[in-house]
Symmetry: C3
Subunit: 427 residues, 3 copies
C-alpha cells in the first residue's frame, strides 16, 4: 500500500473521534496510532500539580444537539463534533432562543464555517454554528441536550524512544487533542507516527530519536516537568510538528536560540533540494508547544517545521480545516521532508580529535600517501586536515563542510577512516 | 511662576558669582541651588589625597584690575570676572606694558571675546582681555591690583538621593565651578536642580535617582573615590549634564559601553517624540566628567545629553557664552527632555519570570481567555507570552517591546498583572 | 656587500646539497646558515616518539643513476638531486625498461620538469624524470645504481632566541628539508637568517624573537612537543616563512584565530606602505607548518607571509623551481617587508593603566597644560586621555590609534611619557 493510501486510512479512522486534552477519544486515538508507533503512556492524574498547573478533570462527550421550535434537530455533535464546545458540561432543558444564543459561537466573517471552541478550565456549555445556520434559527423554545461527563481521571502524554548509537537526542513533538480538525491536528500525529515508522526501519541510527504525542500546552508542561532536565543535557535538536498537510510551502520557525543544529539541518535540506521555504523568527506570542520547550527555564533547541503556519490560513480552527483542505500527497511530502532532514541530522556528526597536538602521523595509519607528490594535495587528505583542525567538539561536520567547501558525504567517509583509527571520537 | 521666569531668576542670581573648584562663591552658588534641591556636602580637605589627586588650596577673589598710564581702570574683575585668570595668586605692583602682556590672554580670532582661563595647579596670575581691548593698551607703566587668597580649605561635592522603590540608581551629574559662563556651566546645575524638583514631585518613582553637583574633574574623581564601588553595583544608567541652553538640537554622547539603558532610554525618547538629535561616540579625548565615570576602573553606564557639544560652538569658554547666547526657553525644553527620558527609564523595568519552566497556568489566574477561540490570540495574551519568555533578568521591557513590536505601555500594563500574581518580580 | 649579492652567495652554497628531513646535507645546510644566525640544535633520535609520531631513520644519499641499453647514464643524482626519490632505499641491479618504469615519476603536463618526490615513511626506491626524458628511454636492459643509506640517527630542529625587553615572543618558523628547490625551500631559511641578522643589529628590541629552522611537519611536531606549552603562554604573534623569492606580490594567510597581532601588524604594514597584497583564509587542508602551530591543541597566533602561495605556481615542487624562477632582489624585498612588519610589531605595545580609577592628575606630572585654555584640547592631551581609557591590557596601541584616529607614532610618544611616570606599564 502506498503511503498516501495508508495515511488516508488512518486519517479516516481518527477523523470522527472527539479528541480533547483528556478522555476516551483521546485514548482511542492514541490506540489507533500505536499500530504505527509503540507508545509508552505517561499518566498525570486529575488534580496533580505539574509545574504551575493542575491536571483538570477527564472529559467525555457522548451526544449533544438542540431541537428548534419546529422540531428540527440542529448542531448535532454526531454530525460534526465541532458543534459542541469542547469540555462543555452536561445540560438538559428547554430555553428560549435568546437564552440559547448566549451559548452559541459563530464567525460572521466566515458564514459557512463552524468555529472550534474550547473551555478546558472554566465550566460552561456551548454550541458552535456556522453563521448561516445561526441566522436561520427560528424564534421559540428550544430543547437542549448535552450528554457529557467531567470526572476524575487522567491526562496522557505518549512517547517512544528510538535508540541510536549516541545518547544525544533529536526530539519530535506533536499534539493530539483537537476533535475533527485536519491540518492543525491530525497531520501532526500522522506525520510523527509515519516518520517513526520510517526511522525505525533504518538499519542504523546514530542519534536517539524521541517522539512525543502530547496534548497542547498542559500536556507538554506536564511532560517537561518529568523530562525537562534530561532533555537539557541530551537534546541537540528538535521540531514541533503541526500543520503539515496544506498546499503551502514548508515553513521553518526558529528556536529561541536561533542557530542550532535544528535550524542548520533544515536549512541544509532546503538548500540541497532547492526546496522553497518560509522562515519565521521565534515568537513567544504566537506559537505551539515550542513555546514550552523554549521557555527560559528549559530553552531547548526546538524549532518548528510546518507548511502554512497556524493562524495564517482562514480555515484554521474551523470546520473548513477538513479533509478537503489538506491532501495526503502533501502530508506524505512533509514526511519525506522530515525524513530527509533526519538524514541531514544523521550526517551532522560532532567529533573530537583525540590527537589535537599537531597533525597525527597519518602515513603510518595508511591515511596519507606514502609518496610526497608534486601535484596538489588530494581531496581525502584535505578533508582529513580540515577534520583534524575543526573537530574540537564545537563544530558539526556540516559546519566544517561549509567552511571548507568539501562535500559533506566525502567528509563523512573520511571521518570513518579517522574514527576507525581512534583519531576522532563521536560525541 | 513659569519655569522660564524661575530659571531666569536663579540664573541672574548665580551669574555674577566667581565660582571656581573651591571657595566662597562656589559655596554661595550651592546655597542658592539648595533652595531648589536639598544637598548633602561631601567635604574634601586641602591636601587630602583622592585617588591619584591631592585637593588644592581654597581660592577666593575679591577684586582685580589694572590701571593704564592714562589712569583708566581696565580688566576689572567686578565688571566681568572672566578678566581674572581663575586661581590667580595675589599681586600688587607697577609694571611696564611689555611685562604686563606676559600675563594677558586673548583670542585674536574672536576679537570681542574675553577668554576663560584657569590655573588651578600652577601658581601664577593673569588677566583675560578681548583682543580689541588688548591692542588698545597704551605704552607705559601699569598699576596691577589682584586681591585674591589661596589658603587651606575644602573642596565640596554636593549630592542628593531621591529614593525610589528600587535600589537601582540613575545618576545625574553636573559641575558648578565656572565663573560667569552661561551655557557651559549654569545650564547644567540649573537643569539638574529643576529636574530634581520635577522628579521629587512625582507621586511614585521606581528607580532611585542620584543628583551630583560636582566640580569638574577633581571633584568627580574625589566623589568617585567615595562612591565608585557602590555605583558599580547599583547604577544602571547615568547622564552628564552640561550645555543645555543653546539653540542647538539635543546631542547624545554614548558611554564607553555604548549600548546601555542610558542610550536606549534617550533614543527611545527621541524616536517617540520625533525629536531631532545628534549622536556622538564615546571620546575619552574630548569630554567632561563622563570620562571619569567611564574610566576603565569604574566603566559606568554614563552617557551625556546636551545641546550643542562643548568646544563645538565659538562662544564656548569665552565671555560670549552669556545670557544672550542661551535662552531660558531652550533650557526649559532641555529639562523637559530629561523629564521625558526619566519617564522612559521609569518604564524600563527589568523583570524576572518566577515560573520559567514552561508557561504558567494563566487561566486560573484570570490572565487567559477561558474560551479557546478561533481568531488570533489577543494582544494581552501575546504580551504575556513575550514577557514570560524574555523576562530572564537580562532584557528590559523596552527591549522586549522592540523585539516583539508590542507597544511599551501596553506591555507595562501586562507586567502589572503578572507582577500582582507573583509571576514576574522586578529587579 | 649588498644583501642581494650575499643572498646569492649563500643560495649558491646551499643549492647543490641534497637536504631531507634528516641526514648530513641537512646538517651541512644548517652549518652554512649558522654563519648568519647562531643556532641551537634540538636533537630527536630515530625511534623517539614525538606526540603521535616516531622519528624515522636518518637518510643519506651519495649517488644514483641508471645506464640505458646504449650505455648512456641517465637520471644522475649528481646532475640534479631531484632525480632521486628522496629517502630512496639503496638498490643495485639490472632490470628491464618495463620494470624500471614502475619506479619512475614524471609530469606529463610539464614535459620539461623533473618532479620532487619523497617517500619518508615507506621504504621504496625511485627516480624522477622529465616527461621528455621519460619517453625517450629505449627498450632493453637497464643497470640501476642507488647508493643511499638509512640508519639510526637523529632529526634536528634548530632555533635561536633573540631576547627583548619583554618575555612575550614573536615566532618566525621555516623549514630546511628540500633538496635543490629554490622558492619553496631556500628562500624561507635565507629570509629567516637574514631577518635574524637585521633584528640582532637593532639597538633595542621590545619583544623577544624566536627563530625556528625546522623540517616540515615532523620537525615542527617534534618541536611543538617540547615548546608548545611555553609558546601558548608567551607567543603573541608568529609567521610561517616560505615562498619568498618569486616575482608575485605578498600573500598574508591568516591564522586559525583570524584576527591576532600577526594579521594586524602585516595589514598595518601593507596599508602604511601601499603594498599590494593577497589575503588567504586559514586553510587546514592546504598549508605548511602553520597547520601544526594552529592545530586545535596549540591554536597559536601563527599567520603566514609569503609571495605566491605554494601550489599556486606551476614550478612548485619541480626542477623549474630553481634560481631562474626566483630573484635575489625579490627575496631581499621580502626580507625588507618582514623587517618592516617587525617594526609594526615593535610599535604594537600593549599597556596597562596603573591608575584606572578616574583620570590621574596629569598636571602635577607635567603632562597637562597648567593653564585651562579656551581652545580645543591639544593633541598630546587627547592622546593621553585615549591611552588612559583604552590601556586596559586588551587593546594594543595600533587598535587605539585606529579607534581614536590619532597617529600611531604620536600615540607612542605619549606612551613614553606616561610610562616614565609609572602610569602605564607595558605587558
Amino acid at each position: 500500500m502506498t503511503d498516501t493510501k495508508k495515511l488516508e486510512q488512518y486519517f479516516d479512522r481518527l477523523w470522527p473521534l472527539c479528541r480533547s486534552i483528556t478522555g476516551k477519544d483521546h485514548l482511542k486515538s492514541l490506540d489507533i496510532l500505536s499500530e504505527l508507533i509503540p507508545l509508552t503512556y505517561l499518566n498525570f492524574e486529575t488534580g496533580q500539580k505539574v509545574n504551575d498547573w493542575f491536571i483538570p478533570k477527564e472529559w467525555n462527550a457522548r451526544d449533544a444537539y438542540f431541537i428548534d421550535p419546529s422540531g428540527i434537530k440542529r448542531a448535532s455533535f454526531k454530525v460534526n463534533n465541532l458543534h459542541l464546545v469542547n469540555y462543555s458540561i452536561p445540560f438538559k432543558g428547554k430555553i428560549s432562543l435568546s437564552e440559547l444564543k448566549k451559548h452559541i459561537y459563530y464567525i460572521q466573517e466566515q458564514p459557512q464555517a463552524i468555529p472550534y471552541i474550547t473551555s478546558y478550565y472554566k465550566e460552561r456549555w456551548g454550541f458552535c454554528l456556522s453563521y448561516n445556520e445561526f441566522i436561520e434559527l427560528p424564534e421559540g423554545e428550544y430543547e437542549v441536550f448535552i450528554d457529557t461527563e467531567l470526572k476524575p481521571g487522567k491526562l496522557v502524554v505518549a512517547e517512544t524512544l528510538l535508540e541510536g548509537e549516541s545518547k544525544k537526542e533529536i526530539l519530535f513533538s506533536t499534539y493530539l487533542c483537537h476533535p475533527s480538525l485536519a491540518n492543525n491536528e491530525l497531520t501532526g500525529p500522522l506525520a510523527l507516527s509515519f516518520l517513526y515508522d520510517r526511522l525505525s526501519n533504518k538499519s542504523k541510527r546514530h542519534f536517539t530519536y524521541r517522539f512525543v504525542i502530547s496534548v497542547e500546552t498542559i500536556g507538554t508542561i506536564a511532560y517537561l516537568s518529568q523530562r525537562g532536565e534530561y532533555l537539557k543535557n541530551n537534546m541537540i535538536a528538535g521540531y514541533q510538528m503541526t500543520c503539515l498537510g496544506d498546499p503551502g510551502k514548508l515553513t521553518l520557525k526558529k528556536s529561541r536560540s536561533q542557530n542550532t543544529l535544528a535550524e542548520r539541518a533544515a536549512l541544509k535540506y532546503f538548500a540541497e533540494t532547492n526546496t522553497p521555504f518560509n522562515i519565521e523568527e521565534f515568537d513567544p506570542g504566537n506559537g505551539s508547544d515550542e513555546r514550552q520547550y523554549c521557555s527560559p527555564g528549559y530553552d531547548l533547541p526546538m524549532a518548528s517545521l510546518m507548511r502554512t503556519m497556524y493562524a495564517r490560513y482562514p480555515e484554521y480552527h474551523t470546520s473548513l480545516d477538513n479533509k478537503n483542505f489538506i491532501s495526503m500527497a502533501s502530508l506524505a511530502e512533509s514526511i519525506d521532508a522530515y525524513e530527509k532532514i533526519v538524514e541531514c541530522i544523521e550526517s551532522s556528526e560532532i567529533y573530537l580529535n583525540n590527537l589535537p597536538y599537531g597533525e597525527p602521523n597519518l602515513g603510518r595509519r595508511g591515511l596519507y600517501p606514502t609518496l610526497g607528490l608534486t601535484n596538489e594535495i588530494d581531496n581525502q587528505t584535505k578533508s582529513i586536515m580540515w577534520l583534524l583542525n575543526y573537530c574540537d567538539g564545537k563544530h558539526e561536520l556540516e559546519y566544517i563542510s561549509e567552511k571548507s567547501k568539501i562535500n559533506l558525504n566525502f567528509l563523512k567517509d573520511t571521518v570513518r577512516h579517522l574514527e576507525s583509527q581512534n583519531i576522532l571520537t563521536k560525541i
